[in-house]
């Protein structure tokens, strides 16, 4: 009995509830004879494509700025990177790498200034971040219209200036990671490249956490007064955290898009931070403590829930029920996590 209690404590109620919910959905799926291999392939792909966006939450939390609700800042940088590589008619891995190489410096600059701003509004990072994200997306709508891209792939089919709402990546970087070393086992398509790339990013963030810079950044995030007394420049560490988070956001959207097959511009990134925030919280992170394992577990549970609930609920209930359920779960989890003791001590 004691052991069970301990296990429950270790795993945590949110994960048990979501996991239980997922299990019930899976049983329903089996009963309704929805093809399982297709579902599992779907889960793996969505897991890989969203993973890095969720991973982007990690440096921000570690540096003490909380959940990065301004993820769209990184995302628009990533989109610009991808657009430029398409403009130059790059495709395949060359296109992917160039996109990322262009996106990283952009995201660094944006993250730097955003970090400076956050240092002036300590304690309200998440509220302000949300609106910074919204504003950036809206501001970029103007940019998408005015940007001097010429490639017919990118601009409206009728010609003139301005980018399309969705840009197909079929002829450029679409599915390059998904199809890399992909294989089929028992009807399940494994997106090997995608999963490897996500694992690589996790590894890099994990290693960074073990370097001197990483340790100090985490100390600054864990206790600002302690860090100051230890001679750590807390503001600088926060900026580093925000930059890393923004860069990961940029890389994340490129990986997401190549797997999705389209670049989504204009208002698409508006709420893109929410699923990432929800996933990392489901995984067990709080607004001041996070581990890589939280990212992996959270992304898996959250995406699996979406993938399985869609067909099941569509069969059970007519219409758009799955979307409604998804929104309730996603926002419910965010509320749950934010109302937990914030910045507290575990005494």
């Amino acid at each position: 009995m004691e052991d069970i209690k301990k296990l429950i404590q270790r795993v945590g109620y949110p994960r048990l509830i979501i996991g239980g919910f997922l299990l019930i959905l899976c049983i329903f799926a089996a009963v309704l004879s929805i093809p399982m291999p297709a579902l599992i392939s779907d889960i793996l792909t969505r897991f890989g494509m969203n993973g890095i966006l969720v991973l982007a939450m990690v440096p921000a939390i570690q540096a003490g700025v909380g959940l990065n609700f301004a993820l769209p800042l990184g995302i628009v940088c990533g989109l610009v990177g991808a657009l430029v590589s398409i403009e130059f008619e790059l495709a395949g891995f060359a296109g992917l790498i160039v996109s990322i190489l262009i996106a990283i410096p952009l995201a660094t600059i944006v993250g730097y200034f955003y970090g400076l701003m956050l240092n002036r509004i300590k304690g309200q990072e998440m509220t302000v971040g949300n609106y910074v994200g919204f504003s950036a997306v809206s501001g970029m709508c103007i940019f998408w219209l005015l940007a001097p891209f010429k490639s017919p792939e990118l601009i409206w089919a009728v010609g003139g200036s301005g980018l399309r709402v969705t840009v197909s990546l079929e002829s450029s970087i679409g599915y390059v990671l998904d199809n890399f070393l992909t294989f089929n086992i028992a009807g399940i398509q494994i997106p090997t490249g995608l999963l490897l790339f996500f694992a690589l990013c996790c590894l890099v963030v994990w290693i960074f956490g073990r370097t001197k810079s990483g340790v100090i950044m985490r100390a600054a995030g864990a206790n600002e007064k302690f860090a100051t007394a230890t001679g750590i420049n807390v503001n600088k560490q926060r900026v580093i955290g925000v930059i890393l988070s923004t860069v990961l956001g940029a890389i994340g959207i490129i990986v997401y898009s190549q797997s999705f097959g389209f670049l989504q511009l204009y208002n698409a990134p508006l709420y893109s931070a929410m699923p990432a925030v929800a996933a990392v919280l489901i995984g067990g992170a709080s607004i001041n403590k996070v581990k890589i394992s939280h990212v992996i577990v959270g992304t898996f549970l959250f995406q699996a829930l979406l993938v399985v609930s869609l067909p099941v609920l569509n069969v059970l209930a007519e219409g758009n029920m799955s979307e409604v359920i998804r929104t309730i779960v996603q926002n419910g989890i965010i509320i749950y996590a934010l109302t937990r003791k914030t910045g507290g001590e575990v005494a």
Binding site: R210, T211, K212, S213, A219, A222, G231, N233, E345
Partner: protein, 532 residues
């Protein structure tokens, strides 16, 4: 049953989780009496006042034994509201006034006089109109009683502090049933002239038949204004005096007392070889630390000594070490080994070989959600690049090295834990303190500054911590600056003790100096005594 006493405090005993802070306190106060209550920090004054006011903190920690008797009836208030209904009033150290309201509104807050109107007749008394005219009249009367020439329609914001204090008093005396008024350090925030007026007002109040319980660290004031004095020490009433028969020296001695037990023996004076070899000099240092301001301090620290810094709470002793570290805004000059230290830059100070163990263990001293080993290693990692190995051009934390070092420290300092991976938030106070000291030692400093090292830790751990500091000093020649509210502790380990009063150095004493001298210095009376 009737008695001549208005308030009787009978045999009050109070434990805070096994730690007995009041051990059978008795105090009797007659109507119209001004009764002084003095004692060092931690003597139990605030706990006693909390009991008198039925503060929730008392009842949340298991209540108390004994009785509060008012007018011969057992009262034992359980909430501040009950205490107020019994006629007990309190003037707080920090003002509880709403700045944007007028004087009248503040005085009458939550006791407004109202008239009924059409709406209130329908929707209830909450919506009655305020009767400003009679409210002003009442406020005027209260202010007049205090001899205050202040327009009752004025907004409180921007008034001098002295006035705010009087408005608080006016609010209390405006309550019709007021019988006993408690002043907790009332003159601490007042300028001298304001304090004089204030003391006159206190006398006036007692003429009105209100009993007054007067808590103050300023002994001259106590002598001047009170009728009787109770001296508290370590939760016991050590003396009850008639003010006429008391003098400042006597009270000072009673307050400090000599607390000899196996932990606290007074240290023998020790020969320091080079008396003029100063490792650290402070010149006109001011530190803007709220509640513990340092205002132009001059102090020299000898190489290889243990310097104690003492003084009463709020006088600025805590601010000194925090100022040297640069954690609060500091001005003046700090010179270490002949070189000026940059101000307000903690990293430079750490680089210069000064380590600091903070008084705020849980807030500043530890990463509570990190392991013991990380807590011990992080300062040295940041400042000295210790515990780092190169791996493919990256500075990676050397986990193995840290683990070995942490195990060594755990053994040496006898940190009781389940292992180096345990989170520091789960440790007891004494063991947390040892982790803090271990971290400071890892920096291999020349000077270690320790603030309130034994606050909130048990007697056994206290001895270990103090012995450790002594050992560091004797064996490694480290200069130790220890700041503490417990004088007995300072006297047991320091070579010299600097007493801080009102943000300045009042004087330096040998540990075996007399209790009178310590008492006088802590009350800021030392210099005055010499003059007269």
């Amino acid at each position: 049953m009737t008695t001549e006493y208005l308030l009787q405090i009978k045999n009050i005993v109070k434990d805070y989780s096994g730690n007995r802070v009041l051990k059978g306190v008795n105090i009797n106060i007659k109507p119209g009496e001004i009764h002084g209550l003095v004692g060092e920090n931690g003597a139990g004054k605030s706990t006693l006042m909390n009991i008198l006011f039925g503060m929730p903190v008392i009842h949340n920690t298991g209540g108390y034994e004994g009785d509060i008797i008012i007018d011969g009836k057992v009262a034992n208030p359980k909430t501040p509201r009950e205490a107020m209904d019994l006629g007990i009033g309190m003037v707080h150290q920090e003002f509880m006034l709403i700045p944007g309201f007028t004087v009248t509104e503040n005085i009458k807050l939550n006791r407004e006089i109202t008239k009924s109107n059409v709406i209130s007749r329908v929707l209830g008394p909450k919506l009655e109109t305020l009767d400003f005219k009679s409210m002003r009249k009442d406020s005027r009367e209260a202010l007049d009683k205090l001899g205050m020439d202040l327009d009752e329609r004025e907004i409180v914001e921007g008034l001098p502090v002295g006035f705010m204090q009087f408005i608080e008093i006016a609010r209390e005396i405006d309550k019709d049933n007021l019988k006993l008024l408690v002043f907790d350090e009332p003159t601490a925030v007042l300028a001298e002239s304001e304090a004089d007026t204030f003391l006159k007002v206190v006398k006036k109040l007692s003429d009105l038949g209100i009993a007054i319980l007067f808590i103050s660290h300023r002994l001259d004031e106590i002598i001047e204004v009170t009728d009787n004095i109770t001296v508290l020490r370590d939760g016991e009433v050590v003396s009850y005096l008639k003010t006429k028969e008391a003098n400042v020296n006597q009270i000072a001695e009673l307050m400090v007392g000599r607390k000899l037990d196996n932990v606290n023996t007074i240290k023998k004076a020790r020969e320091i070889e080079n008396k003029d070899d100063y490792i650290l000099e402070l010149k006109n240092v001011s530190v803007d630390m709220p509640g513990e301001r340092v205002k132009g301090l001059n102090l020299k620290v000898r190489r290889g000594e243990i310097l104690g810094i003492g003084g009463l709470g709020g006088q600025g002793k805590i601010g000194i070490a925090n100022g040297i570290m640069g954690l609060y805004k500091t001005t003046g000059e700090i010179i270490k080994d002949g070189k000026k230290l940059p101000l307000n830059q903690p990293k430079e100070v750490l680089d210069a070989g000064i380590a600091f163990v903070t008084e705020d263990r849980r807030g500043v001293g530890l990463l509570l959600e990190n392991s013991i080993e990380e807590n011990i290693a992080i300062s040295a990692l940041q400042i000295k690049d210790r515990f780092i190995k190169k791996l493919a051009g990256m500075n990676i934390m050397a986990k193995k090295e840290i683990r070995e070092y942490a195990l060594k420290m755990i053994e040496e300092l006898d940190i009781r834990c389940t292992g180096p991976r345990q989170l520091t938030g789960q440790l007891s106070g004494g063991n947390q303190q040892k982790v803090c000291i271990a971290r400071a030692l890892t920096l291999e400093p020349d000077i270690i500054m320790v603030s309130e090292p034994t606050r909130g830790i048990d007697v056994g751990a206290k001895k270990i911590v103090l012995d450790l500091l002594k050992k560091l000093n004797e064996e490694l020649g480290m200069t130790v600056i220890i700041t503490s509210s417990e004088l007995a502790e300072l006297r047991s380990i320091s070579d010299r003790i600097a007493i801080i009063f009102e943000g300045k150095l009042e004087g330096i004493l040998e540990p075996d100096a007399s209790d009178v001298d310590f008492g006088l210095m802590m009350a800021g009376e030392y210099g005055k005594g010499e003059v007269s």
